[in-house]
C-alpha cells in the first residue's frame, strides 16, 4: 500500500533504517563523552569506524541536516550529533527550513495564534 507523501517529511521506515544504520549507530555512540571527544579529534577516522557511505560522510562534514536525513539519519540520533556542534532543535529547524533561527522562532510563535 502506497500512502501519499507528507510534504517536507521523511518517515523513518525500514528503507531509511537500512540505509542509515551505520550513520545512526555512530550518532548513538555519541551518548558517551569519550566517543564525542574521539569524533572531535578526527571526524573522518571516526566515520570510517562505522562504515559511513561517501554521501553520509559528506553530509556529516558539511553539517547538511537534510542530507543526513535523506541518507537514512534519524532525527533522534542526529540530535546527538547536533549536540556536539552545540546546536539545539531550533537551530536544526532553521537549518532545514532555510531561515534564520529568529525567523524560525517567530514562525513557532505564529502557530500559537
Amino acid at each position: 500500500m502506497t500512502l501519499p507523501d507528507i510534504p517536507g517529511t521523511t518517515l523513518f521506515d525500514g528503507a531509511q533504517a537500512r540505509k542509515g544504520y551505520g550513520l545512526n549507530k555512530m550518532c548513538y555512540s555519541f551518548n558517551s563523552a569519550d566517543n564525542r571527544a574521539d569524533f572531535q579529534r578526527d571526524e573522518d577516522a571516526y566515520c570510517s569506524r562505522f562504515g559511513l557511505t561517501a554521501e553520509q560522510r559528506r553530509a556529516i562534514r558539511e553539517r547538511d541536516v537534510l542530507g543526513l536525513i535523506a541518507a537514512g539519519g534519524n532525527v533522534y540520533y542526529l540530535a546527538k550529533f547536533a549536540g556536539i556542534l552545540g546546536l539545539d532543535v531550533q537551530d536544526l529547524g532553521a537549518l532545514q527550513t532555510g531561515v534564520t533561527k529568529d525567523e524560525f522562532k517567530r514562525r513557532l510563535l505564529d502557530a500559537a495564534r
Binding site: 517536507g8 521523511t10 549507530k25 542526529l78 556536539i84 529547524g93 532545514q96 527550513t97 513557532l108 502557530a111
Partner: protein
C-alpha cells in the same frame, strides 16, 4: 486490590531539563509552561497520593538502539537510572522500581495478547525523567515506578487503536494487582511538533485542542486515524500522542478532568498537560 487514582499526560521536551537546571521557572518564556504544574502538585498531594507510577513513554536512543527495537517494552528492574543522552542535560536521581507490579503487568499484558519485551536492566531518558521532575520538582521521588516504553522511533509504529488497547490492558492489570497501593499512570510526549525535514517547526493547535478535548468526552476519537494520518496532523514527533492515548485508555470509560494546560511553543513543540482522575 490496587487503586488506579488517575492519569497525567505531559510533554517531555529536553529543553525543560535545561530550564529546570537554570531555575528559569519564572522566566517570561517558561512561566506559562511551568505555571501549569502548580495544580498538578496540589492534586498529587491532596487527592491522588500515588505510591507507584506507571510511566508510559518513548525512548529516544538511550536504552534502545536500532539493533533491537521493541514495539512495547516493560521495565522489571529494581532501579532505573538516567544517563548521558549526548547533549548534556543534567541527570536526575535514580528511581526505585516496583517489581511486583512490573511482573504482574507483564503477566497480565502477555495474557491479554501483548507480546512484550521485558527489561531487567533499563536506563530511562528525558521522556521519563523530565515529566517526573515536573510532577515532583524536589526530585526526592516519593513513588516507585514501572516504565512502559512504546516505539515511536522506527516505523512501523503500533497503531493508535493498538496503543489504546494497550492502555486498557494496563488499566485492567493495575486494578487486578493484589496490593493496597495507589497507582498513577503518567503518559509523556507531544503534543504537535516536528523536528525533522523541511516541515520542521510544524505545529497544529486546532488538532491538539480537539485531541485534548476528545480524551474527556470521546476517548477513542484519535483511534480512527492511521499513524500516517497522525503524522500528517500532529507532525513526526507529535505522534507521541500515542502515549496520551494509552494513558487515557487505562483510566476506564469515565474520567474527571482535574486540570489542563496548553502552551505554544516550548522549544519546537506545542506543550500540553492534562490531569484526569479515574
Amino acid at each position: 486490590m490496587a487503586t488506579l487514582v488517575g492519569g497525567i499526560t505531559t510533554s517531555h521536551v529536553p529543553a525543560i531539563g535545561r530550564a529546570i537546571a537554570k531555575n528559569l521557572q519564572d522566566d517570561p518564556y517558561w512561566k506559562p509552561f511551568f505555571d501549569g504544574y502548580g495544580p498538578v502538585h496540589r492534586w498529587l498531594e491532596a487527592e491522588a497520593r500515588p505510591d507507584v507510577v506507571v510511566v508510559v513513554y518513548n525512548d529516544h536512543g538511550l536504552n534502545f538502539f536500532l539493533d533491537k527495537m521493541p514495539t512495547f517494552a516493560v521495565g522489571a528492574a529494581a532501579e532505573y537510572r538516567n544517563a548521558d543522552e549526548g547533549w548534556g542535560i543534567p541527570q536526575v536521581p535514580p528511581f526505585t522500581g516496583e517489581l511486583d507490579l512490573s511482573w504482574h503487568l507483564i503477566e497480565s499484558l502477555v495474557a491479554d495478547g501483548f507480546d512484550l519485551t521485558t527489561c531487567q536492566e533499563m536506563v530511562v531518558d528525558h521522556a521519563f525523567t523530565l515529566p517526573m521532575a515536573l510532577l515532583w520538582p524536589s526530585q526526592a521521588w516519593p513513588v516507585k515506578v514501572v516504565p512502559v516504553c512504546i516505539n515511536t522511533v522506527q516505523f512501523p509504529l503500533p497503531s493508535a487503536a493498538r496503543c489504546y488497547a494497550l492502555g486498557e490492558a494496563i488499566g485492567r492489570a493495575v486494578r487486578s494487582w493484589a496490593s493496597g497501593q495507589r497507582v498513577l499512570v503518567l503518559g509523556t510526549g507531544g503534543l504537535s511538533h516536528q523536528l525533522d525535514g523541511q516541515r520542521a517547526g510544524f505545529i497544529n493547535k486546532d488538532f491538539d485542542l480537539q485531541f485534548m478535548e476528545s480524551l474527556v468526552h470521546d476517548p477513542r476519537w484519535a483511534t480512527q486515524f492511521s499513524i500516517h494520518e497522525l503524522v500528517e496532523k500532529a507532525g513526526t514527533q507529535g505522534v507521541e500522542l500515542l502515549m496520551w492515548l494509552s494513558t487515557r485508555a487505562a483510566l476506564g470509560d469515565q474520567v474527571r478532568r482535574v486540570h489542563q494546560n496548553y502552551h505554544i511553543p516550548i522549544s519546537n513543540t506545542a506543550s500540553g498537560l492534562m490531569v484526569m482522575s479515574a
